[in-house]
Symmetry: D2
Subunit: 337 residues, 4 copies
């Protein structure tokens, strides 16, 4: 940790800070300069965090040297983690396609869609039972009824399924009917929920928040892993920027950036990332090309009638062509579809 002092800081004030650093068993450094004095503190920066040096009135700024996350980093765990969702694997050489409707609307709608996506090669189903919606007047999901439909359909078709969790008290019910729990962008920093997912042990798909930096996302994953659950899959789904042509700005650079620093699998959601059906295919190919371990795509048996996100859902026959078109890209990166 590097501590830059204000120009008016005295030698005594610097010594006091150096003493606080040494007290914690860390090595301190004193670097007087012509315009500023700089202090260094070498060692475990999490211990240094407790010193709260940035609060001192003579401290101008504090710069961390090490990344604040640990368990999710490649420095602790150099090899790719492979996570199994009900038998389907993601990470390493296994490329995973998760597909299905935004929301489970009825048994008929979910069955029809699920049959189609399975037939065309999806490895897992998606479908929301609890829908966080910006407006209280929008469709909020079928709730427990939706979970039951998911459980029945996935069993009937023999394919794993994932669904979103919005509150810790629902974890058990979801774990009974689904193979992985998804944390939505709006809940990425619902730390109470993250901790309980850490205790639950089931695979978690953690979506990046709309205003979350990559560091924030990795720290959110650290909450889950530090409670003992290593089955975490990160999901890039677009961040909020000034560009309104697309629903969000899909930050694909985050994929190789994270893969170089973390062992966790990273998937991409091009449906929410763009909000436009006609951008889903090119951005899925791009996700593959830059190293993503999977994609999560919205498909609906009848998009114009979808109760939510119809504009970004693929028609079933679009999905069939989409899967065909994806194959050469998956092969070019040396993975298996």
């Amino acid at each position: 940790m590097i501590i830059v002092l204000k120009p008016e800081a005295t030698k005594e004030q610097a010594d006091e800070l150096l003493a606080r650093i040494e007290e914690r068993g860390l090595k301190s450094l004193y670097m007087p300069g012509s315009e500023r004095t700089v202090l260094g503190a070498l060692g475990d920066e999490r211990v240094l965090g407790e010193l709260r040096l940035e609060s001192h009135p003579m401290v101008e700024s504090v710069k961390a040297i090490l990344a604040p996350y640990k368990l999710v980093s490649r420095e602790v765990h150099p090899h790719d983690s492979v996570v199994s969702i009900g038998g389907a694997t993601v990470g390493g050489e296994a490329f995973m396609v998760i597909a299905g409707p935004c929301a489970i609307e009825s048994k008929e709608q979910f069955t029809q869609t699920a049959e189609q996506v399975k037939k065309h090669g999806a490895h897992a189903l998606r479908g929301g039972a609890f829908k966080p919606r910006t407006s209280p007047y929008s469709f909020q999901g079928l709730g427990i009824e939706g979970l039951k439909i998911m459980g029945e359909v996935k069993t009937a078709l023999g394919i794993p399924a994932v669904t979103e969790v919005v509150e810790a008290s629902d974890i058990q019910a979801i774990a009974d009917h689904a193979d992985a729990l998804q944390v939505g962008a709006r809940n990425m920093q619902n730390f109470r929920l993250l901790k309980q997912l850490g205790e639950c042990g089931k695979p978690v798909i953690l979506k990046r928040g709309m205003a979350a930096t990559i560091k924030d996302l990795l720290l959110a994953a650290e909450y889950i892993v530090s409670e003992g659950n290593e089955n975490v899959i990160l999901c890039e789904r677009g961040i909020r920027t000034f560009e309104t042509a697309t629903r969000n700005t899909l930050d694909l650079s985050a994929v190789p950036f994270i893969k170089q620093r973390s062992h966790l699998p990273v998937i991409v959601d091009p449906s929410h990332g763009t909000g436009r059906r006609e951008l889903v295919e090119p951005m899925s190919r791009a996700a593959v090309a830059c190293g993503a371990d999977g994609i999560m795509v919205e498909v609906h048996c009848n998009p114009p009638e979808a109760l939510s996100d119809g504009a970004q859902s693929l028609f079933p026959d679009q999905f069939a062509a989409f899967m065909q078109g994806l194959r050469p890209f998956v092969e070019a990166v040396g993975k298996k579809l």
Copy 2:
């Protein structure tokens, strides 16, 4: 609602959409142009939302005419709402100052700070018991123990107090010890929490999310009000932008923009909004000047020792001078401090 069709849309497809609009009991309009056909639908746009016209493959875009929120708007409720927090009022002519530490760290720390802020004119205390922190390795708050300290101190000093709620299951415990519940930026779209706060009835301070538009904030408030709780105070606390000189970018334009459209009181948090102690005073004055109904300021009896957010907390004597300096601005806008 205005529906712009794609250039290739046929007259038959337009007619089909017009029929769907009429079916809902709304007035439809057909406007063929040289390059695009445009349809109109006049009436309650929330009903139109259910038609999901944007999902139709021949629809290029859908533009709403009315704001999607209703109960929080001045059209329904033209006059300023005044909310009482344990006897202190905010809204209308009453300017409210809420002050205290980021987190309750001990009974001694909270008592000392509370005595100081009360002495210098704060109308209510703040202090976190449950702290949502980006890193799992940061101080997470004293929890229930902190709530008890808050309850004791506020009773002893005879001053109302507010604290943050992070999960619906904590609402009752917090309501027992505090006069208002604060929803933090990271939970602004935790809709399950918002609904239960709507049922609870206690005043709610709803902070704007880091990636939330003003419309998102008003819709989040609509969740609470539509469950029957009208005691909602909105809080601007900065949004996330590319500028890193300040912790967030305090969007003060949001204050008059919201006040012109909503009857709810709007307060400003210059401490989180800037993250820098030396910007708290100028930005508090600016908040007053542009029409805010109150401010929420972090003050700590000993900022260099604060367990969180020390760099943005005022020293007690800074707060005393701060309150003095605020007075002429509050008077210039015709409010009472």
Copy 3:
């Protein structure tokens, strides 16, 4: 164009606005609703722009229906434009790789780098002579001397070259030594420069500004094309967002979004888009996969000694492997490298 009136607007005021619309020879529409009156104006919206309806005190908002650009759109020109840069083509089936150093530093440095990138398959050279730098204390380029080096090296090696123009008065000198003129992100809305590039006729590579929407970029291209120069290549190079892990946020969704609306070729600059050498390869592959017509990559004969942007420049042998690795992706999209 859709004009939403304020709730307090009277029928007389609406009639006055309708008359102004009709005066311009456009068709007007009157749509009274329960909460708002909405007016429509059908026809060429650029004529309507002159009415400045948004300035009227009774107008709440004005929504355009048509895109504001015309000559660059596929509606006017449905097929892909193919642009030739000194004999190398970009657009349609031709995928173009432009490579070279950020800045021309000396004849030796530029020759060495140029030989390498040509040998490994680049179709054109890049290299800056006039460098816009954020700080006045950074290296500003060799100027005219650099242009001469570019002219000599490209002639000696028989490969086209592109370089940046920062002021209209330099256009002729650059056109004498280079095959295409590049407009940097900071000059994307230097409209005087754009107009003169429109008159010049040489190919222009127009980079997206850091705060420019896709619409802004297409309107900037419209400035050039409307002066008679159709040889415009658009370049996505990242936008500024809150994410600081990468130098910019490369908005790859912009590539298919633009390609669906405009006939102009679109290339990607992954070097400035990410600012990190180790992200250049994955993001170049992703650019290919989502439909880009080319890439512009920084390569330096000795990056640690580069006078600018060394951290994002590839080493020559990295570039060789990079070109090899790109091939299967280019083939998968049906283009030729």
Copy 4:
């Protein structure tokens, strides 16, 4: 400057870097840690910039300690600069109001507006002759004709005037008719223009770019000052963020942040900053309250007929009330209107 090495960097590589630092006559520091080695370099960081340490393959990151600007900083020049625009002063205790139309449309329009704003207390006129417009189909200004009108009107009324410069070749013509030259947001990093304004010597109003950080703005000012022109006034006019309710997000925190670090006067443009007439007054008051040295406000003799920016222009009698309402805030900060 702090240089963090990659985990795999060897002692030899560290020694090589240390030698390069020493060669430049700077003091080097070697700080081996358990996970990373950190190097320090103490002295003039601009010299260090030439070492381009960030380009070295074993360097993970480089963190500057000192601000990269110098001449504009309070460390070099502790007291407030006061700039005179044709006899009217800004900075120190002098609060300046610059008012007028977005564009000069005709002699009649500019005269009428100028008379009104002068009568109600403006200290200087504004009005654009060269208008940078996003679309090539929008009104582009009267050019030289507009400059002449400005010259005649300001002389007739005896009030200084400012106008925008968009290209270096126009500087002399503008200097002949106006008292200060304004650099618009889109040209803030047109470094060629900045340098020539540095040589010109006339006061320059430098507007912050839409994607410019505060550091970028101060470095752009450094370009002008380092060429010998100290008469620079900075202008906050809003940055581009995800919020679309306002035209830009007015970043008022930038005002005190800059004032604490730079001696240059800082003014605010609430008209472009918000894009909405009804927000101009509250945000002007807020600008005063947080310490701005002046404001620049758009006023038009007949906003509904304005050829540009009518929606954000005040009516003349609104401006009269506005000036009255501003006075108590200016007095509360100890300045003179």
